[in-house]
């Protein structure tokens, strides 16, 4: 009968339309109540947390995380990746199946769930492959994977290249009401590229990846979602025109959702001028106009979620020449700071919209029973200090890798406690 009282914080729960200073009571791993009317005795409280000045939210959910295990344990493991999640304020992550082997069988899903359970950190929800061996040729055993616990399907790392296969995947997934998380890229347009195609790539002599490579594929998948009634979730949208395509599709009632990454609403391709591979990711950093498009899309809800695309790579890989260094950067431990600094402090979105984007909507898209502080819900809770100013130091990260372009940045806003199923799993040491 463990109970916990989180006292005096600003409770933000968009699911119930709550945004007020109040107490949150947790008992036996579940939410008991917000506030306390005094009609019944509070009872014995085992632990009280003073949350004055803090934001109390349903546990944050990152629906786009590469945990690298199995196969690339030199970059990250399920244990280190989920510890990084906790340190970033996330109580749940969805892990992407581009591992080695790829997560395309029940046994592989089971492996991840067991490893996660043994790590006993945050919740890990498994995204499984659309195609067998993630090779884009035949559908994986989607029904069996759903039974094993897969919450969504994705060949991320690569697009589902064959339009016919994508169409069948949309149709087949309707049976289970599961979304397809799509990496949108026309490979022959982006092949060999290391950064956004534009005047910066021209002046640096670097091979560019045009915005059209992403937009053409978003357009294709919207058309296929339309014709099949399937659920499309556009991953890491990075271009203003991509946001416009999604906005227009939503207005036509097509079942499309989208996510954006903190680096895509924070940085532009100008960052590549130093040739640092920590600014190399796919899709690439775009222009200031695209950043503006992403910010507008997050504000008006066209882009439903914030997700990090946490992509650890061991230092020796990122130290290679720019064309040989892999795509991707860390995201879990800087997402809250970047979001508070770039989105909330700047006035682009408010706290309820932020919590919706990083907890409620990811839970709804993945169909998981999280993202809310309703009485009876599993008590995943994040406490955020909105005015905490801190300097990013990759050497203090819980992640196994250090490939963050934000090393040394000063950010405002940080998770100070992460509570999973009623237990404090992370607390920021002061």
């Amino acid at each position: 009968m463990a109970s916990m009282l989180i006292r005096g914080g600003r409770v933000v729960d968009p699911d119930q339309g709550i945004d007020r200073v109040d107490d949150l009571l947790i008992r036996d791993g579940l939410i008991m109540s917000i506030g306390h009317d005094g009609s019944q005795p509070l009872g014995k409280v085992d632990e009280t947390i003073d949350a004055q000045g803090l934001i109390v939210t349903p546990g944050l959910i990152d629906m786009h995380v590469h945990l690298r295990e199995p196969g690339r344990e030199e970059d990250e493991t399920i244990e280190t990746g989920t510890q990084a999640a906790l340190a970033g304020g996330f109580t749940s992550v969805a892990c992407i199946p581009n591992t080695e082997p790829a997560i395309d069988t029940q046994a592989n899903v089971e492996f991840i769930r067991q490893k996660a359970s043994r790590a006993d950190t945050c919740n890990v929800f498994v995204v499984a492959c659309v195609s067998r061996e993630r090779d884009g040729k035949e559908l994986a055993e989607i029904g069996q994977l759903v039974e094993a616990g897969a919450v969504a399907f994705s060949d991320d790392g690569s697009p589902v290249y064959d339009a016919e296969l994508m169409r069948r995947a949309f149709e087949y997934c309707r049976m289970f009401d599961k979304p397809i998380l799509a990496h949108e890229e026309v490979l022959e347009l982006s092949h060999g590229g290391v950064m956004n195609e534009g005047i910066v790539s021209m002046s640096l002599g670097l091979e560019g990846m045009p915005a059209a490579a992403e937009e053409v594929m978003i357009g294709r998948d919207i058309a296929l979602a339309d014709v099949t009634g399937g659920r499309l979730h556009v991953m890491h949208v990075s271009t203003a025109q991509g946001v416009d395509l999604i906005r227009e599709a939503k207005s036509r009632g097509i079942r499309v959702t989208a996510e954006a990454c903190p680096h895509h609403f924070t940085l532009t391709d100008e960052s590549l001028r130093g040739f640092d591979s920590n600014f190399k990711m796919s899709p690439p950093l775009r222009t200031a106009k695209d950043v503006e498009g992403i910010l507008a899309g997050l504000a008006d809800g066209t882009i439903d979620c914030i997700a990090t695309d946490h992509a650890p790579h061991a230092p020796e890989k990122k130290l290679l020449e720019l064309d040989r260094a892999p795509f991707g950067i860390l995201g879990l431990e800087t997402a809250v700071g970047l979001s508070v600094t770039r989105l909330i402090e700047s006035g682009r979105i408010d706290w309820p919209r932020f919590v919706e984007a990083i907890s409620l909507l990811p839970a709804r898209i993945l169909g998981i029973n999280r993202g809310t502080l309703r009485p009876g819900a599993i008590a995943d809770v994040t406490l955020i200090d909105p005015s905490h100013e801190w300097q990013v130091d990759v050497n203090s990260f819980a992640s196994k890798s250090v490939n963050s372009p934000f090393d040394g940045w000063t950010l405002r806003g940080r998770a100070v406690a992460t509570i999973v199923h009623g237990k404090v799993k992370y607390r920021l040491s002061s």
């Binding site: 534009g198 021209m202 640096l204 670097l206 040739f275 130290l319 020449e321 720019l322």
Partner: protein, 341 residues
């Protein structure tokens, strides 16, 4: 030989082992990061080197005891030879390091390789690599001087300098000259280095070629873009004919070599329609019959072979300046030279 104009930097004199004053860069990575004065300083130093070595034929002894490493990850004949000879003309030792015979083929990273060379006590590393930014990456990891000898399509500062040196030697002040860069701008490091150097020194630059190789977006850098060589030809004082870099192209940017040559090759007919004193440059190797016909390559207006000689002078100057900074600390200050200002 016409004498070059005097720059705003103090004139330099050849004096013992001391390099000229006014140079503070530890590395030469790109002309984009240099000021007009610094570019002129290199060019003036190159004039001095050329004169002091009787047209780059003899040795002077300003870098004796220094060791220069040629670290070439991409094939090169003339640039590597030119750097080697330039270093020897200055009295330095030269080590050639070829990527194919090294530990790199055993999986060692190129930074580890370079750090090993640094530990052997070399003064400067001359690096060529197929990937833009690789010299910058080396420079951030090594304490020795790094000289970019070509990083993919990004930069080739000594090529830009020797092209500008050759123009200056023939036509004098760059200010007001119109220079056409013709051909594969998209994949050409020579084009980029020329562009920064020329515009900083006051020349007008026109980029010319098919839209698949010359994007209109280049106009954002303050240069003119044309897809019609015949239209710009009468306005040009200099044409720099850039090689079609077949090896760097993902897909063929024009239907055939024949069609490209028809539209853009510098031939006898086009030469007749150009200014009488038009100067023609081409960074080797040239594809005779593609960018330039054989008769034009060998005509009196062509500076193609002068470029090669001047490459030695420019590289001597660069090596001397970079090694000078390495050996004497970041700021070189000579009161004698100050007195001449």
């Amino acid at each position: 030989m016409s004498q070059s104009k005097s720059s705003t930097v103090a004139p330099v004199v050849l004096r013992g082992n001391l390099p000229p004053t006014g140079w503070t860069h530890r590395h030469l990575l790109d002309l984009e990061e240099l000021s007009a004065e610094e570019i002129s300083l290199i060019l003036d130093t190159a004039v001095m080197c050329k004169e002091a070595t009787q047209g780059c034929r003899e040795k002077i002894d300003v870098l004796s005891g220094a060791a220069i490493v040629n670290l070439f990850f991409e094939n090169s004949t003339r640039t590597k030879t030119s750097f080697s000879l330039a270093a020897r003309r200055l009295g330095a030792d030269v080590i050639d390091f070829s990527a194919s015979t090294s530990s790199l083929s055993k999986g060692e990273s190129f930074i580890d390789t370079a750090k090993n060379l640094e530990a052997m006590g070399v003064d400067a590393v001359v690096v060529r690599h197929r990937t833009p930014g690789t010299p910058h990456l080396l420079a951030s990891h090594l304490d020795v001087g790094v000289i970019n000898a070509g990083d993919g399509p990004h930069a080739h500062p000594t090529q830009g300098l020797l092209d500008i040196f050759s123009i200056r030697e023939r036509l004098g002040d760059l200010k007001g000259l119109t220079v056409g860069l013709v051909g594969d701008i998209a994949h050409s490091r020579t084009a980029r280095s020329n562009l920064w150097g020329l515009t900083k020194l006051g020349a007008k630059v026109i980029l010319c070629g098919p839209p698949t190789l010359v994007s209109d977006s280049w106009q954002e850098f303050g240069v003119e873009v044309s897809h019609d060589l015949d239209a710009i030809l009468p306005r040009c004082d200099v044409l720099n004919l850039l090689r079609i870099q077949f090896e760097r192209q993902k897909t063929r940017p024009f239907p055939s070599v024949r069609e490209y040559a028809h539209l853009y090759a510098m031939n006898r007919d086009r030469l007749r329609r150009a200014k009488d004193d038009l100067v023609i440059l081409a960074p080797g190797p040239i594809n005779r019959g593609v960018e330039v016909t054989a008769d034009v390559a060998d005509c009196p207006q062509s500076l193609i072979l002068n470029q090669v000689t001047n490459g030695l002078a420019v590289r001597m100057a660069v090596l001397w300046l970079i090694c000078g900074v390495q050996r004497n600390g970041l700021t070189i200050d000579s009161s004698e030279n100050k007195g001449q200002q």
